[in-house]
């Protein structure tokens, strides 16, 4: 199966690790990602005019037509924007978690398990809200961790906001918000969003912040340690 891949701006820079991880996970699992040619910024949350953001994202859908109408977008904000720009539903815009279902993940060629690890899946905001663009299975990561023998902790903060998009506006507020998350998290925090990664890592004191792809690669034996 070939998917059109929309990395988005962060994955080309600060979130390179997520980009590499996604390509590797999909590769190992035999799914082909082809980057959308000449894609542009999805608009993020940078414009007050909602139709401006939709038209920026819509352009990407047209560019994807050269590859596929099935589009993978790993950044939660990009996937929300792309989903919202597809008014008539002619495209299938997917966050990787919409593709890597539990059944599917349980059948992967696992080389390692998660025994002895206590892990906090931290989804943040946009994978779970608003409901129109949320991922289908809102407990998928907990199920994956448990299925591979790990323990889950800190579920009560899984949908809290780290304040990420205000990081460069008011860092004190973001400090306080991220501390709420960090306090309830275990030593291993699994994140999905480039900004969550940056904020939690900045304010973490020894807790390890991982992308969900790191966890999958570890299980697949492609990564030596968590």
């Amino acid at each position: 199966m070939v998917y059109a891949y929309y990395p988005g701006c962060s994955l080309k820079g600060s979130a390179k690790k997520l980009d590499v991880g996604i390509r590797k996970v999909f590769g190992v699992l035999g799914m082909h990602l082809e980057e959308i040619p000449d894609w542009n910024c999805c608009g993020a949350v940078e414009y007050g005019d909602a139709s401006e953001i939709r038209s920026m994202s819509r352009k990407n859908l047209f560019k994807a037509l050269k590859v596929s109408t099935r589009i993978i977008a790993p950044c939660p904000l990009c996937s929300k924007n792309l989903k919202e720009s597809d008014g008539s539903g002619e495209f299938s815009i997917l966050h990787p978690l919409d593709v890597l279902s539990l059944d599917f993940l349980m059948s992967i060629p696992a080389k390692k398990d998660l025994k002895g690890y206590v892990i906090t899946p931290y989804y943040g905001c946009l994978l779970l809200r608003p409901k129109e663009t949320a991922i289908k299975d809102k407990e998928i990561m907990e199920k994956v961790i448990l299925s591979f023998g790990g323990q889950v902790a800190g579920e009560e903060i899984k949908d809290k906001c780290c304040g990420g998009n205000k990081f460069f506006v008011d860092k004190e507020i973001v400090y306080k918000l991220s501390k709420i998350v960090l306090k309830k998290s275990s030593p291993f925090i699994v994140v999905f969003c480039p900004l969550c990664h940056m904020v939690l890592k900045t304010f973490s004191e020894g807790q390890k912040v991982l992308y969900f792809t790191d966890l999958i690669l570890y299980i697949l034996g492609e990564k030596k340690e968590l």
Partner: protein
């Protein structure tokens, strides 16, 4: 308070005035608002009321601090997308911060957010506002990559 055109807020956010008349005043939005977890004591509903009444509170703390977390939307009986209303309000009252300005300028030049350019543009803010101390933790985020210029149509 600056008088601003409420029509534009409706146009930008895609709402109509009637859409706000259904607001029950239940303040569930305030009870779940992220900023109240850290004692900011804000009420998102005030923004809707003020727009409904045509008196826009563009000095409301949420204009600067709303994180677009959609917790309010998720709990509101009418699923009102308050963060999008706030973004419209912010745009119209020209309250964009330097960070947002740098982002937009990058999108204008490259068609994408090219981080090295954004960092360069924000370097004085990063210096002045004490972000430099985070740099050791940010090493993994810095990468040298050439910009891509998206074709114009």
């Amino acid at each position: 308070m600056q008088m601003i055109d409420t029509e534009k807020v409706f146009e930008y956010s895609g709402y109509k005035k009637e859409d706000f008349s259904v607001c029950l005043g239940c303040k569930i939005c305030a009870s779940v608002c992220t900023l109240n977890d850290i004692g900011e004591n804000v009420n998102p509903q005030e923004i809707l009321i003020s727009i409904f009444l045509g008196k826009v509170l563009n000095t409301h703390p949420l204009v600067r601090l709303c994180t677009s977390c959609y917790r309010c939307t998720d709990s509101c009986p009418w699923s009102i997308r308050i963060p999008e209303v706030i973004r419209a309000l912010k745009e119209i009252s020209q309250k964009e911060e330097s960070f947002g300005k740098a982002f937009r300028s990058s999108i204008k030049i490259f068609g994408r957010i090219y981080e090295p350019y954004v960092i360069l543009k924000l370097s004085s803010v990063l210096l002045r506002k004490g972000y430099i101390k985070f740099f050791p933790k940010w090493i993994e985020y810095f990468s040298l990559h050439l910009p891509h210029f998206v074709r114009r149509d």
